[in-house]
C-alpha cells in the first residue's frame, strides 16, 4: 500500500492519525516539524503528505513550497487555521487539500483515499472521449451514464445525473434554480420551488466527502449552483 508521511508538532495528533491510517493498511512515517518532513521525504518513497501549518523550525506553508520544488505528491494540509484566507493560501502554494482541525477522522481518511486514488490511478486519464467530462476527481461518462469520484462509482438518479451533467458541461457557470429546472424538466419554472435544491443536496451528499464544504458542486447562496473549475 501507499506510504504516508504525517507531520505535526502535536505528537498525540500524529499518533491518532497513525492509528487510523494503519487500520486502513497504509505505511506511516512521522515527522514533528517541517525540516524533519523534508528529510523523511528525501529518504523515503512517500505517496502522500499530511502536514500541519503551525510548526517549529519550518512551518507547513514553507515546507510545502519547498516540497513542491521537486515533488508532485498529494499534500493535505491539516490546520487549526480555519479562515478562508488560510485555506486559499494553503491551496495556492500547492497543497491539494485543506482539512481544518478539529477534523472528523473519517473525513480525513476519505480525503486521503481520494487524493491517493487521483495520484496513483487517475493521474493520466484519457480525456479525448467527447462523452467524457472531468472536473478534478469528478468524472462523468455520458455514454455509459457513469459517474465516478476519484475513481469510485457514484449512483445517481436520472434527474440528479442530468443536473450534474448540465453543471459539469458548463463548468464554472452559475445556474439558478429556475434555469436548472427549465433545462431539466423542460417546463417553465413557477418559482418558489425547492425541488432542485433538494436534488442538489442529494448530489452533493453522494459526490462530496464533506457536503457542507463541497469541492465540486458549490452553492452560490442566493444566486445558484455551479461546478467549480479545478
Amino acid at each position: 500500500m501507499a506510504n504516508i508521511l504525517v507531520c505535526d508538532d502535536d505528537r498525540e495528533i500524529v499518533d491518532a492519525i497513525e492509528i487510523y491510517l494503519l487500520q486502513e493498511g497504509y505505511t506511516i512515517y512521522k515527522a514533528y516539524d517541517g525540516e524533519q518532513a523534508i528529510k523523511v521525504l528525501k529518504e523515503q518513497q512517500i505517496h502522500l503528505l499530511l502536514i500541519d501549518v503551525m510548526m517549529p523550525k519550518l512551518d507547513g506553508i514553507h515546507a510545502t513550497l519547498k516540497i513542491r520544488e521537486y515533488s508532485s505528491i498529494p499534500i493535505i494540509i491539516l490546520s487549526a487555521k480555519s479562515e478562508d484566507n488560510d485555506k486559499i493560501l494553503g491551496l495556492n502554494i500547492g497543497a491539494d487539500d485543506y482539512v481544518t482541525k478539529p477534523f472528523n477522522p473519517l473525513e480525513l481518511l476519505a480525503r486521503v483515499k481520494s487524493n491517493l486514488r487521483r495520484y496513483t490511478t487517475l493521474g493520466n486519464l484519457n480525456t479525448e472521449n467527447n462523452a467524457l467530462f472531468q472536473v478534478g476527481g469528478l468524472c462523468i461518462n455520458d455514454d455509459t451514464k457513469e459517474v465516478t469520484v476519484d475513481g469510485e462509482n457514484v449512483k445517481l438518479t436520472p434527474i440528479e445525473y442530468n443536473i450534474l451533467l448540465l453543471l459539469v458541461k458548463n463548468c464554472g457557470r452559475v445556474f439558478s434554480i429556475d434555469q436548472i429546472y427549465e433545462s431539466i424538466w423542460n417546463e417553465e419554472a413557477i418559482g418558489a420551488d425547492n425541488t432542485v435544491a433538494v436534488h442538489i443536496r442529494h448530489i452533493r451528499e453522494k459526490i462530496e466527502i464533506n457536503p457542507k464544504e463541497p469541492r465540486y458542486l458549490k452553492v452560490v447562496w442566493g444566486v445558484g449552483y455551479k461546478i467549480e473549475k479545478q
Partner: protein, 953 residues
C-alpha cells in the same frame, strides 16, 4: 447488554439534579419574567391612566375655557345691568335723562327712594315754573289773550323796577302775534324838527305808589301787573315833574306804601347833568339837517290804541321802550309755548302729579291747578284750613304742602323745605309770601309719566342691585383666576414617557404673521359686525348710553351676552395660541420673517462657503475700494485743491498696499485650508509648506502639520490594535483547537475499541457529544467575536432572496422531514434582490433554520414570506414564523443578546450563539433583525434594503 442498576441510578440522579437545577433557574427566570411582565402591565395601566388623565385634562381645559368666556360674559352683562340699572331714563318735562339710583334705597319702597324724591323735586320745580308762567298768561285759571302786559315791568320782573319808569301796555295776544310775525324797523328820514314832532311832547312816566303794601319795588311792580292787571297804571296827563335824584333816594329809603302814579315830565326840564346833551340835541333839532331815524313799525297798538312814539318825547327812551316791547314779546312767546306744553304734560290725564297753587295779592286770589273737579279743589282748599290732617292729604300718595306765609311745610316725601324754598326764590317776583302750594303724586299711578318710568326702572333693578354687583365681582374674579390658570397651563402636556412638553394645536403651527393677520382680521370683522348690527337694528348708541328702553330689552341683553362670549372666545383663542407659541418658543421660529432671514443667512453662507477664500477676501475689499473711490471722486468734485489731491493719492497708495497684504494673507490661508482638506481626506502624511508663511498663518500651519502627524500616529496605533485583536482571536482559537483535535480523535479511537462495559460506553458518549459541542462552540465563539469586533470582510453581491430561500429550504428539507415540519413560502415581491455577502447571508439563514429545526414543535408548519415593506418600498422584509415546542418565557431581546450577556444556553444542542450571530451578521449587511414572540409563535423579521436595479435582467 447488562444493565448496571447503580450506574443508571447515578446517571439518573445526575440528570435529575441537572434537571432540577435547570428548572430552578427556569422557575426563577419565569418568576422574574412574570414580575417584569407584571411591571409592564402595571406600567401599561399607568400609561393608560395617564392617557385618560391627559384626555381628561384636555377636556377639563376646554371646559374651563368655556367657563372663562361665560364668566366674562356674565361679568360684562352684570356690569351692564348695574350700569343701566343704576340710572333710570325718565322723561320729565324739562328734565329728561338718567336719574341715579342710590344703593341706600335698595330696601326702600319706590315712593320712599331718592329717585322718587328727585323726580318729584323736578316735577315740583316744573310746576312752580308753570305757576309763574300761568300767572303771566292766565286770568282766573284760563288763558287770557286780552290780558294787559306792562312791557317794562315784565322785562324787569326779576331784577326789580325803578320807582319811575316808562312803559306801554299791550294785549297779550297782540304781543304773541307780533312776535310770531316779527318786529320790523324802517328807516325814516327826518329833520331835527320832524324828529321832535314825531315823538310825543311829553314822556309818560309810571311811578310806583309809595303807599304800596309791598316791601320792595320788584314785588310790588310785577306782582301787581301780574295779579291786578293794569289797575295801577294811571292816566297820562299828570303834571307831576320828573322826580329828581333826591326824591328817588327818599322813596327808596322811606318804603312808602305804593300807589303807583304815572307822571308826565318835560325833557326841557331834565336834570342838570344832562343839560349839555339836551342843548346839543336841541341844536341838532334846530339845525334842520336831515337824518335817518330807525322807527319800529307799530304792527299793533297798545291797549290804549296808541303807537309807541306817543309815549315818549326822547329818542333814547323811545328805543328803550321799543326794545322792552320786543323783549317782552319774545319772552312771552317762549313762555307761551312752554305753558302749552306744560299744561298738556301736567294735565290730569297725562300726569300723576296733582297741584294747586293759591296766590293772594292784596284782595286778589289766583288759583293755578290741574284739578278739574270744583269739588276736589274745594276739598284741597278746605283741608288746607286744617293742616293737622296733613297725613290724609287730598289724594292718596305723596304730597308737599308749603305755605311761606305761616311757615308751614308738610310732606311725606324726602324733599325738605329748603329745596322748595330755593325753587320758589328763583321766581320770588311771581310768588308773594302769601302763596300756598299743594303738590301731590297719585301713587296709584293712573297715568304714564316720569313717575311710572322711574318706578319701572326702580322695580326692575333696585332689588337685585347688590346681587348683580356681587355677581359681576365674582364673575370678574373667576375670569381673572381662570385666565391666569389657563395662561399658565395652556399647551403644557406630558408625553407617554412622562416628560413634559408643549403641545401645539394645528392652529399654533400656522406661521406667526398669518396668525396676527387673522387676529387683526377677526378684530376688524367683529367691529364691522357690531357696526352693521347696530345699523340694521337701527340702534342709536346714544340711546343705549342714555339707558333708554332698548338697553332694557331682554334680547339686547342676550345679544350682549352672546357677543361678549364670542368676542372673548375669539380673543382668548388667539391669546392662548400666542402663549403656547411663546412657551414652545416657536413664535419667532414659526414666522415667515424668521424663515426669510434663515434663507438669507443660508444663501449668504452658501455663497461664502462655496466661494474661494481669495474671492471671499477680494469681494469685501473690492466693495471697500469702490466706496473709497466714490468718496474720492466726490472729494474731487467738491474741493479740488492740491492738498486734497495729495491726500487722495496717498489714500490710493494705502488702498493698494492693503489690498496686496490682504491678497497675500488670503492666499496663505487658502494654502493651509487646502492642506487641512488633504489631511481630512486621508492623506495623513501631507504637510503644509511653511516656508512662505508668516505670523498667525505660520503658527496655524505648524499646528495643522502636528495634528496631521498626531492623527497618523493614532491611526497607526489603532490599526495595530485591530491587527492584534484579530491575531489574538485566531491564536486563541488555534490554541483551543489543537488539543481539541486530540480529544476528538482519541474519543473516536476509544469508541472503536469494543468495550463491553456499558457504563464506559455511556461515558464515552458524553465525552463525544461534549467534545463535538466544544468544537461547535469554539467555531461560533470565534465567528461571533469576529463579527462583533467588526473583524470580517464582506463581499457584497446581488442576492436573490427567493433563490436563497429555496436553496435553504432544500438544504434543510431532510432535517425538517425528520421533525415533520412543513414549509410554506409566500413571495409577494417581484425581484427580491438585495446586496449581501452570499456566504454570510447563508449563515444567517442556516442559523435561523437550525433554530427552527431545534426548537419548532414537531408536525407544525413553518411560514416564510418575502415582501415589500408596507410603507417603505425600498426595503424587503423576510419573515420566518414557527411554533415553538416549549414555552418561550423570555424577552425577545434576550435571545439575541446571550453572547453579550454571557448567558449559557440551556439546551445541550448548539452554542446558543446562533441567533446572536445571525443578528450581528444581518446588521453587518445593512439589514435589521427582529424577533417577535407571541405566545408560542416565534417570529423572526429581517429587513434588507433593495439592491439598485442595474444588473436586473
Amino acid at each position: 447488554m447488562g444493565k448496571d442498576e447503580r450506574g443508571m441510578t447515578a446517571e439518573e440522579e445526575k440528570q435529575v439534579q441537572a434537571y432540577t437545577d435547570e428548572t430552578d433557574t427556569d422557575s426563577r427566570k419565569t418568576e422574574e419574567i412574570i414580575d417584569k411582565k407584571d411591571g409592564n402591565r402595571n406600567r401599561k395601566q399607568r400609561d393608560g391612566r395617564k392617557k385618560k388623565v391627559k384626555r381628561g385634562n384636555h377636556a377639563a381645559r376646554m371646559f374651563l375655557c368655556i367657563v372663562q368666556h361665560l364668566s366674562l360674559a356674565v361679568m360684562v352683562l352684570s356690569v351692564f345691568i348695574v350700569a343701566i340699572g343704576s340710572t333710570v331714563y325718565v322723561e320729565g318735562f324739562r328734565s329728561r335723562g338718567g336719574f341715579n339710583m342710590y344703593t341706600m334705597d335698595r330696601k326702600q319702597k319706590y315712593e320712599e327712594s331718592e329717585l322718587f324724591g328727585n323726580i318729584f323735586g323736578y316735577a315740583a320745580a316744573d310746576i312752580i315754573r308753570l305757576g309763574v308762567v300761568s300767572g303771566q298768561l292766565e286770568t282766573d285759571g284760563v288763558f287770557d289773550g286780552r290780558k294787559l302786559i306792562d312791557v317794562t315791568a315784565y322785562n324787569f320782573r326779576d331784577i326789580g323796577l325803578p320807582e319811575r319808569y316808562v312803559t306801554a301796555s299791550y294785549y297779550l295776544e297782540d304781543l304773541l302775534k307780533w312776535q310770531n310775525y316779527g318786529f320790523e324797523w324802517t328807516g325814516t328820514e327826518m329833520t331835527g324838527a320832524q324828529a321832535r314832532d314825531f315823538l310825543a311832547d311829553q314822556t309818560r312816566v309810571t311811578v310806583i305808589d309809595p303807599d304800596s303794601k309791598y316791601y320792595n319795588t320788584s314785588d310790588a311792580s310785577y306782582l301787581k301787573s301780574d295779579v291786578e292787571s293794569y289797575t295801577f297804571v294811571n292816566d297820562v296827563s299828570s303834571n307831576q315833574l320828573w322826580v329828581d335824584a333826591e326824591d328817588t333816594d327818599g322813596f327808596v329809603d322811606d318804603y312808602r306804601p305804593a300807589n303807583l302814579e304815572t307822571v308826565e315830565y318835560d325833557d326841557r326840564e331834565t336834570a342838570t347833568d344832562s343839560a349839555m346833551l339836551e342843548d346839543e340835541t336841541k341844536a341838532l333839532y334846530d339845525s334842520g339837517a336831515i337824518s335817518t331815524y330807525n322807527v319800529l313799525v307799530n304792527r299793533y297798538k297798545t291797549a290804549e290804541g296808541k303807537n309807541l312814539e306817543q309815549y315818549v318825547s326822547d329818542w333814547d327812551l323811545y328805543y328803550d321802550l321799543c326794545h322792552n316791547v320786543q323783549y317782552a314779546a319774545n319772552s312771552l312767546s317762549y313762555n307761551y309755548n312752554e305753558y302749552l306744553e306744560a299744561k298738556q304734560y301736567y294735565s290730569m290725564e297725562n300726569s300723576n302729579v296733582r297741584y294747586l297753587i293759591r296766590k293772594t295779592v292784596g284782595e286778589n286770589t289766583q288759583i293755578y291747578t290741574n284739578l278739574e273737579e270744583e269739588q276736589e279743589i274745594g276739598n284741597v282748599l278746605s283741608l288746607a284750613e286744617d293742616k293737622e290732617k296733613g297725613e290724609e292729604f287730598f289724594f292718596p300718595g305723596k304730597y308737599i304742602y308749603y305755605s311761606p306765609a305761616d311757615m308751614t311745610y308738610l310732606t311725606n316725601t324726602s324733599i325738605d323745605e329748603e329745596t322748595v324754598r330755593q325753587i320758589l326764590q328763583e321766581y320770588d317776583y311771581a310768588y308773594p309770601e302769601t302763596v300756598e302750594i299743594w303738590l301731590g303724586v297719585d301713587t296709584s299711578y293712573p297715568a304714564e309719566d316720569a313717575f311710572t318710568q322711574g318706578q319701572a326702572g326702580f322695580n326692575n333693578y333696585q332689588p337685585y342691585f347688590m346681587q348683580w354687583i356681587a355677581l359681576a365681582f365674582a364673575a370678574g374674579i373667576l375670569y381673572l383666576v381662570l385666565l391666569c390658570y389657563l395662561t399658565v397651563v395652556t399647551g403644557k402636556d406630558v408625553d407617554q414617557e412622562g416628560r413634559p412638553y408643549v403641545r401645539l394645536t394645528s392652529f399654533d403651527r400656522i406661521p406667526t404673521e398669518i396668525m396676527f393677520l387673522l387676529g387683526f382680521g377677526m378684530a376688524i370683522l367683529i367691529a364691522w359686525v357690531m357696526v352693521v348690527v347696530t345699523q340694521l337694528l337701527n340702534l342709536n348708541v346714544a340711546d343705549v348710553m342714555a339707558h333708554k328702553t332698548v338697553a332694557h330689552t331682554q334680547w339686547f341683553k342676550a345679544t350682549l351676552f352672546a357677543a361678549v362670549f364670542a368676542v372673548d372666545m375669539v380673543a382668548m383663542f388667539f391669546f392662548y395660541s400666542l402663549v403656547r407659541r411663546l412657551r414652545a418658543r416657536v413664535l419667532w421660529k414659526n414666522s415667515y420673517l424668521c424663515r426669510f432671514f434663515r434663507l438669507l443667512k443660508r444663501c449668504t453662507l452658501q455663497m461664502y462657503d462655496n466661494s474661494d477664500i481669495v474671492l471671499r477676501t477680494c469681494v469685501p475689499y473690492g466693495l471697500f475700494l469702490l466706496f473709497n473711490l466714490l468718496m474720492m471722486v466726490w472729494a474731487f468734485d467738491t474741493n479740488a485743491s492740491f492738498g486734497i489731491l495729495v491726500l487722495v493719492f496717498i489714500t490710493m497708495a494705502v488702498d493698494v498696499a492693503v489690498g496686496h497684504l490682504l491678497y497675500q494673507n488670503a492666499k496663505e490661508q487658502q494654502q493651509i485650508v487646502k492642506g487641512i482638506e488633504t489631511i481630512a481626506n486621508g492623506q495623513l502624511e501631507h504637510q503644509v509648506k511653511t516656508e512662505k508663511l508668516h505670523g498667525d498663518n505660520l503658527t496655524l500651519a505648524h499646528s495643522v502639520n502636528s495634528i496631521g502627524k498626531g492623527i497618523k500616529e493614532a491611526v497607526e496605533i489603532s490599526m495595530k490594535d485591530e491587527r492584534m485583536k484579530a491575531d489574538l482571536i485566531t491564536n486563541v482559537s488555534h490554541d483551543i483547537k489543537t488539543p481539541l483535535t486530540s480529544i476528538i480523535n482519541y474519543v473516536d479511537l476509544i469508541k472503536r475499541e469494543r468495550i463491553d462495559n456499558e457504563k464506559v460506553q455511556n461515558y464515552i458518549k458524553v465525552l463525544d457529544e461534549k467534545s463535538q459541542r466544544l468544537k461547535q462552540l469554539t467555531d461560533d465563539l470565534v465567528e461571533a467575536s469576529k463579527i462583533t469586533s467588526g473583524n470580517i470582510s464582506l463581499h457584497f453581491e446581488q442576492i436573490n432572496l427567493t433563490e436563497l430561500m429555496n436553496q435553504t429550504i432544500g438544504e434543510f428539507s431532510e432535517k425538517f422531514e425528520l421533525k415533520n415540519l412543513t414549509t410554506v413560502m409566500n413571495v409577494r415581491v417581484k425581484n427580491a434582490v438585495i446586496e449581501a455577502d452570499s456566504r454570510r447571508i447563508w449563515r444567517v439563514m442556516e442559523n435561523l433554520f437550525n433554530n427552527i429545526y431545534k426548537y419548532a414543535m414537531e408536525g407544525t408548519r413553518v411560514y416564510l414570506s418575502i415582501e415589500d415593506m408596507p410603507d417603505k418600498k425600498k426595503f424587503i422584509v423576510i419573515s420566518i414564523k414557527n411554533i415553538s415546542a416549549s414555552p418561550l418565557n423570555c424577552n425577545p431581546d434576550e435571545l439575541t443578546e446571550r453572547f453579550i450577556r454571557g448567558d449559557v444556553s440551556r439546551t445541550t444542542e448548539g452554542s446558543g450563539l446562533g441567533l446572536s450571530i445571525a443578528k450581528n451578521l444581518t446588521e453587518a449587511q445593512k439589514g435589521t433583525f427582529e424577533i417577535q414572540l407571541d405566545g408560542d409563535l416565534f417570529k423572526v423579521i429581517l429587513t434588507f434594503p433593495k439592491a439598485k436595479e442595474e444588473k436586473q435582467e
